[in-house]
Amino acid sequence: MDYATFLQIFDTTLRLATPLLFACLAGLYSERAGVFDIGLEGKMLMAAMASGAVAALSGSVWIGLMAGIVGSLAFALVHGIASITFRGNQLISGVALNFVASGITVLIAQDLFGQGGRTPPLEGGARMLEITLPLAETLRPVPVIGPLYADVISGHPILVYVGLLLVPATWWLLYRTRFGLRLRAVGENPASVDTAGVSVKRLRFSAVLIAGVLCGLAGAYMATGLQAGFGREMTAGRGYIALAALIFAKWRPWHALWACLLFGFFQSLALRPDVMQAVGIKIPGPALDALPYILTVVVLAGLVGKAVPPRAGGEPYVKER
């Protein structure tokens, strides 16, 4: 056990926490506006396929990124129409979207490339390259902080930094702007927002579409940043872990960051049984994988403070007549 091993684990943590963070923030916008979103997983998967496929065809990761966002937005729009316009059950709509995504991504990729629902491996400009932050090499000799900066903070695809910056941006938007106030209000008491003459539907739609964009970033990061291409079911349940993180964070942006980093840390620790043995703890990998869900149940049970979801969450708004 040395410092370099710790750095390596933190490096992995940051990489694995980023898709969780995007999806978690996506859920935060949507649920704060009163629309539950089980479909994070499906939207990420759709975005991963769209970005992987378009990046492979165009050779440009940025066009792929746009396609990923569009793919995810299309799903978000369906969710919005089903649950806001037609006041359908939000959970059912989300689950349905997950199933559709699971099938349609493989179908489209198979039709385009004939490689078993996989996109061809991306190369060169079709992949999201890691960027080195300024002064990374200059600062490396500085003890403790130098390697931390050069190895952990620096050297990630740009979306990792975008994700981290989105946390204060989300906080500012939700708590310091008029839009944010209304967004939170529409999730707590839509009738009062309606009385004030603000459209509930428009607010909820904008929240759901923001969630679509964020899930698009998550999926595109997985297909072009973490991996070089799309593979079937490649999100592997990360949308649900993000949902767990959202509850764990009690629907607050800064807490969402810590929750995602913590869950990412569990995931990266599960990859290194040797490290755990070295520090004398023997936790089986599967237990670490299950830890996010266990912690979420603990929080939901009210053992660590109270997790209060937005009051109007899950209920379609019906104007009183």
């Binding site: 370099a4 078993g116 593979g231 592997a236």
Partner: protein, 331 residues
């Protein structure tokens, strides 16, 4: 009512005619999917080869979920397909209950032993093939540390890992083998992101050759190894071409031959256990243009020598599934 009758009648006719017309063989792919570039794809290639050579047709079915197994199997059997080949250990229990209901249909299952009078069980000696690629990994490694990444943690995958570790230790008794499993649920076969992170974690522990026996997850392992500038070893199908010059070799499991043979035998297929071992060319390692530069003549000679010893029975590789222990590694 009339409509109902017509439809029922039509359905009956259809079922009848298909039963008469075809004793077509059928194949069911397991959850990894037909084009997994690995196990199921090898099965498909065997079926395709048979169809091309004989001009025959075959039925195929891709599993979408665990719940479909029995239904899919019964449907194919009722449609008159014969023989029915299924890939994957997970069909074991289902086949055991379904096979007695269709005594006239022949079944073949790959990777699992099912003792029924109309079932042919085909198993491979993955530990022997893994032993050979393990030797090659140890010979190619400069750091003395090599890695193994398995898919779902099941005895079959441990058999891969155990044979591999034994092969590594045979060349270099001081070598370190880092063993990781991706997970304990079927999702572990399709998580390339986790596979890539595991490969990076193993590299940071010093591994410079990594063997992936993990289905779709292996794609991520091979990719990460190529990105990080270390070598990888593919599995089941020949995966050398995925990253030319960066995949040391592939442990090939000739599932295609097993399917091809079963289709060729047709209804005359004999039930019982068939072991596809190194001697029968059931397992082996892949050499082609893509990895020719990576494998030296000396490496090849050593591996060939061991292969000859295994074939003659002089060298016995421990089979994890025989006693659920592994002398060369701890899981």
């Amino acid at each position: 009512m009339t409509l109902m009758k017509t439809m029922l009648g039509a359905a009956a006719t259809l079922a009848l005619s298909s039963a008469i017309a075809s004793a077509d063989p059928a194949i069911i792919y397991d959850l990894g999917g037909k084009f997994d570039k690995s196990f199921n794809e090898a099965a498909f290639n065997g079926a395709k080869k048979w169809a091309e050579e004989t001009g025959g047709t075959f039925k195929e079915l891709e599993m979408q979920s665990e719940a479909q197994r029995e239904q899919a199997l019964r449907q194919l059997a009722e449609s008159g397909a014969n023989p029915i080949v299924m890939t994957g250990f997970a069909f074991g229990d289902t086949l055991n209950t379904v096979a007695p209901d269709f005594p006239d249909t022949k079944f073949a299952i790959i990777d699992m032993v099912v003792e029924q009078p109309n079932v042919k069980s085909v198993v491979f000696t993955e530990h022997e093939g893994s032993y050979l690629v393990g030797m090659m990994a140890a010979l190619a490694s400069k750091t003395g540390t090599v890695g193994f990444i398995g898919g779902m943690d099941i005895p079959l995958i441990r058999r891969f890992g155990c044979g591999y570790a034994e092969g590594v230790k045979a060349v270099n008794p001081d070598a370190t083998v880092v063993l990781n499993m991706t997970g304990t649920t079927p999702a572990a076969w399709n998580d390339p992101v986790k596979g890539a992170e595991l490969a990076k974690a193993q590299k940071s522990q010093g591994a410079d050759v990594i063997y992936a026996a993990a289905g779709g997850t292996g794609i991520g392992v091979l990719q990460a190894a190529a990105d990080e500038g270390i070598l990888s070893i593919g599995v089941d199908s020949n995966q050398n071409h995925l990253h030319p010059g960066k995949v040391l070799t592939s442990m090939t499991k000739r599932v295609d031959n097993a399917v091809y043979n079963a289709f060729n035998d047709g209804e005359a297929m004999t039930a019982g256990l068939t072991v596809m071992d190194l001697k029968a060319d059931g397992v082996g390692y892949a050499m082609d243009d893509n990895n020719a530069a990576l494998v030296t003549d000396e490496m090849k000679a050593k591996v060939e020598e061991a292969a000859a010893k295994i074939k003659s029975g002089e060298l016995k590789v421990h089979d994890y599934m025989s006693d659920n222990t592994c002398p060369a590694a701890t899981f």
